[in-house]
């Protein structure tokens, strides 16, 4: 295979990654990392660099549409970014001291359960519309467009959600991937935020954390232009397609796609935990 053929294969895989990543709020790493390392035999360090580029491109590409259309909640995103960015710094410091294999394994098992929990529609609780006073103080309650008109929502359990986001940040610092899944689950399952708002706000947030790491990995020589070029160009096109689909998609179907994608991610994490390879 020459470089032109290699570029086309990577571009096509990245298109799919950007599409699924923007639709689920997970970024594209779950597709790109295994395609590069397992199918194309790329060294994991180049794959990490390419994956970070894909996450930033998915996030920024789709966020332009999500923010304008009123899906992403900027205040929720900004507030929770304190937890994710400081968690990522802590995770990077811990990475040298903690066996990441064991963490991958545990995280994989947690994700398998979450895939099951989040693919079911959230049950409407009696207290579903009672906001957390902290959420009101932080002006987090908002509204988003649905086919039946604008729907408003209240945010619950802010401290618990914030703590989970800190955990998500630590995981992303430790393992390099996987923080998008915890972000969506924390907003959807814990904070009671509507699913489309959760995935698009996660999508909005992941680019910032990835950009901070990308600066570090660029300095270490992990970001190869020949590899990152098809990844970025594919992901941007895919994420724009994903953003168009999400607007009209039924939440029920998005939950199923999300559940499937994090199941795959869970398998990858368990495989990585057991073998030490990606």
């Amino acid at each position: 295979m020459n470089i032109i053929e290699f570029t086309i294969v990577v571009w096509a895989a990245s298109l799919l990654a950007g599409f699924l990543g923007s639709l689920t709020g997970l970024g594209g790493g779950i597709i790109i990392t295994p395609v590069l390392t397992l199918a194309l035999g790329v060294d994991i360090r180049y794959a990490i660099g390419a994956t970070l580029v894909s996450v930033i491109a998915t996030s920024s590409g789709a966020a332009a549409a999500y923010v304008r259309e009123g899906f992403s909640n900027i205040r929720i995103g900004m507030f929770l970014e304190i937890a994710t960015t400081s968690g990522a710094v802590a995770g990077a410091l811990l990475a040298a001291k903690i066996p990441t294999g064991a963490i991958s394994l545990i995280f994989g098992l947690v994700l398998l359960y979450s895939a099951y929990a989040s693919s079911r529609p959230r049950r409407e609780r009696a207290d579903d519309h009672r906001p957390d006073p902290l959420a009101t103080r932080l002006r987090m309650n908002g509204s988003f467009p649905t086919p039946d008109g604008t729907r408003s929502y209240c945010v619950q359990h802010v401290p618990a959600g914030f703590s989970m986001m800190f955990g998500a940040g630590i995981l992303s610092g430790l393992l390099g991937i996987g923080s998008g899944a915890v972000k969506v689950i924390a907003m959807d399952q814990v904070m009671g935020i509507p699913f489309k708002v959760s995935t698009t706000t996660s999508n909005f947030m992941i680019g910032v954390t990835a950009a901070a790491s990308a600066g570090v990995y660029l300095g270490r020589g992990y970001i190869d232009p020949g590899l990152a070029m098809p990844v970025m160009l594919g992901v941007v096109v895919g994420s724009l397609l994903g953003a168009r689909v999400l607007t009209h998609a039924k939440t029920h179907w998005l939950r199923i796609v999300f559940g499937l994608v994090i199941s795959i991610m869970a398998m990858e994490m368990i495989y990585h935990g057991l073998t030490g390879k990606f």
């Binding site: 996030s59 900027i74 304190i82 910032v208």
Partner: protein
Amino acid sequence: MNSVQKWTDPYVEELIGSLLQTGVILASAVVLFGGSIYLVRHGLAAPQYHVFVGEPTDLRTISGIVRDALNLRGRGIIQLGLLLLIATPIARVAFSVAAFAIQRDRLYVAITLIVLAILLYSMMSGQG
């Protein structure tokens, strides 16, 4: 209409959307341009990604990347586009500080400044 009234949340969202879109389009155009040069010059060679050697120094630092790009080297131009891409979310956070300040939302100015400080800290700590 004074500036505080004009800077409503939907207006700020529109501006942030435009900022992200501009960043992505600009970065993609630069990467596409550099990629074309790279593929024309090296497209028929074999890819060498199974062994990690790391990028040469000129593709790791901002000054080196700018120098390579000005010499119209394909890989340098792609790397410049990637720098624009990496800068886009950081610019979004910096712009948010200004937007919340114009809205006189002190709480969110503080929140956004904390995020920006952590981001800059983690970028600086990685450069050492």
